[in-house]
């Protein structure tokens, strides 16, 4: 599947793998079953004490919308405590609406079984790159964790390539300059 994909750090010449976390259009994203005291925006603060936590049970849905279509190559999740770290994570692509019912009924694009190794800050978890070639929204469904009542995450980073020529803001800038 990912035989075409080169090893993680050296990217293919045309498509450089970069941090695409800033391509997330935050106003359109939402999270389900989050504790109001621990909102999902905390994931991008880069501080262990600022977390995203689940509320009623350990499940969590994080729906991320990108401002332009991207290729997603890998991701990095950081959890403050191993007990509350997600174990089974399902990824869904390009869903407009998503709830916990859908999580049961829809076939995920990829299922990740995350171990302690994956939660190290420097470690990236590779995805099936060929399946993530045109991603406008990515839904991360945390199905269960390592035993705690709630799931906690402190950081999320996504790596990949913005699809060229689709960045609307750049197109608008050019006539302004010229």
């Amino acid at each position: 599947m990912s035989s075409e994909g080169p090893p993680a750090p050296p990217p293919p010449p045309s498509n450089e793998i970069v941090d695409i976390t800033d391509k997330i259009a935050k106003p359109e994203c939402f999270v389900l079953n989050a504790d109001p005291k621990y909102p999902w925006e905390n994931l991008f603060m880069g501080d262990d004490r600022l977390q995203l936590r689940s509320d009623t049970d350990e499940q969590l849905i994080l729906h991320l919308v990108f401002s332009e279509a991207v290729k997603v190559h890998s991701l990095n999740l950081v959890a403050p405590e191993m007990e509350a770290a997600p174990a089974t994570v399902k990824l869904y692509l390009n869903k407009t609406s998503f709830s916990f019912d859908d999580a049961e009924n829809i076939e995920p694009t990829q299922v990740l079984e995350l171990t302690e190794e994956d939660y190290k800050a420097e470690k990236v978890t590779l995805l099936k790159f060929v399946k993530f070639q045109r991603v406008s929204s990515l839904t991360i469904f945390v199905e269960n964790n390592n035993g705690a009542d709630y799931t906690a995450l402190s950081m999320l980073r996504l790596f990949g390539t913005p699809l060229q020529g689709t960045d609307v803001s750049k197109i608008q800038k050019q006539p302004a300059q010229g």
Partner: protein, 413 residues
Amino acid sequence: MPLETTIICVDNSEWTRNGDYIPTRFEAQHDAVNLVTGAKTQQNPESTVGVLTMAGRGVELLVSPTDDIGKLLSCLHSVRMGGRVDMAGAVQVAQLALKHRRNKNGSQRVVVFVCSPVEADAKTLVKVGKQLKKNGIAVDVVSLGEIEENQEKLQEFVEATNSNSNSHLVSIPAGFLPSDVLVTSPIIHGGEEGSEGAGMGAGAGGGGAGFGGTSGLGDFGGVDAQSDPALAMALRVSYEEERARQEAAAKAAAATEGENEGEAKGMAMETEAGASSSGTAAAAAASMGGEVDEEEEALLKQALAMSMADSGSSSSLENKGKTAASGTGSGETAGAGQGEGAPMDMEDEDAAYQLALKMSMEEEGGGAGGGIYGCDHGHGSRGRSIVGCPRSAHIRGSGVCDEPAGLVGRSRS
């Protein structure tokens, strides 16, 4: 107010034909739904509202979430009453409708009107409630008609859904106009302002206290606590200061009075006259007297008997002259402002003693400020606390008002 998508679940079961709300439960509910749709769509230009019916041939979505107020107002006219309510199913349909809303950011809310006995068991409701909570949906429940029967289940349902106190249960006893009660409830003006209202209303129960505060101050020139909280607060502060001052004065007067027996004798007679229209006041007079002296007690008992006879023969109006002199207002007694404001021009100790009696009555009769915002019928805090108060205990005490029409009229004024 934040952007919000709301689904209103309307009860159109056979129970809504009941005429205990004016004109019928369904019409009263219709009125309340119009109020909620109007409020929700105006709170934010992008807020949308949808309506579904819970009974009839099954749950039916009349209008999917829209900001078209015309559609929302007209959709209920064609609804037919019939069948039974499937509350759990309705809430799940509402959840589905919310899932496919147009504007994905912003919160989601389901407002459920319940006018018939809830058939679903508490367990199912709690399960549905948890599901709603998980999907980030808040719930407001308006209970009409079968209040006591449903109270427990609905309370559990709301508590299961509640997150960050975003869900509320409002019970509206028969005789009140639902839209009148809702307008000051947290369902219309959001949870945050509800707590502010509670602070102002000096008592328990967010919505109920807010309502009490509004109508109480309304007597001083129709100030609406919601539209002008600063002014209402200022009024309230000065009001309480004045009250404290009067209380102190009354205490002093009562102390001097206690020393003088002969005076107390005359006093008892005055008391009787003043309180003639409310037997309770006379009873308090008797209890007060008991502390002072035996002889006095006998006199007071006599006075009590006289007062009973007076009110029994409804001759209280004849005593009006005396009554006015002792500062209690007319035969109607003890309304919000009257008893409080009048003692300003009290001239003698008699009036002071009268006031002290009233104060002690109020303190006994219903916690802080209870008496102040009582309804006009002299049963003080009991009448007040039911209005919009989600606590079952308060509702149970709601045998309340013999003259609901009068109350409704008052809350409108």
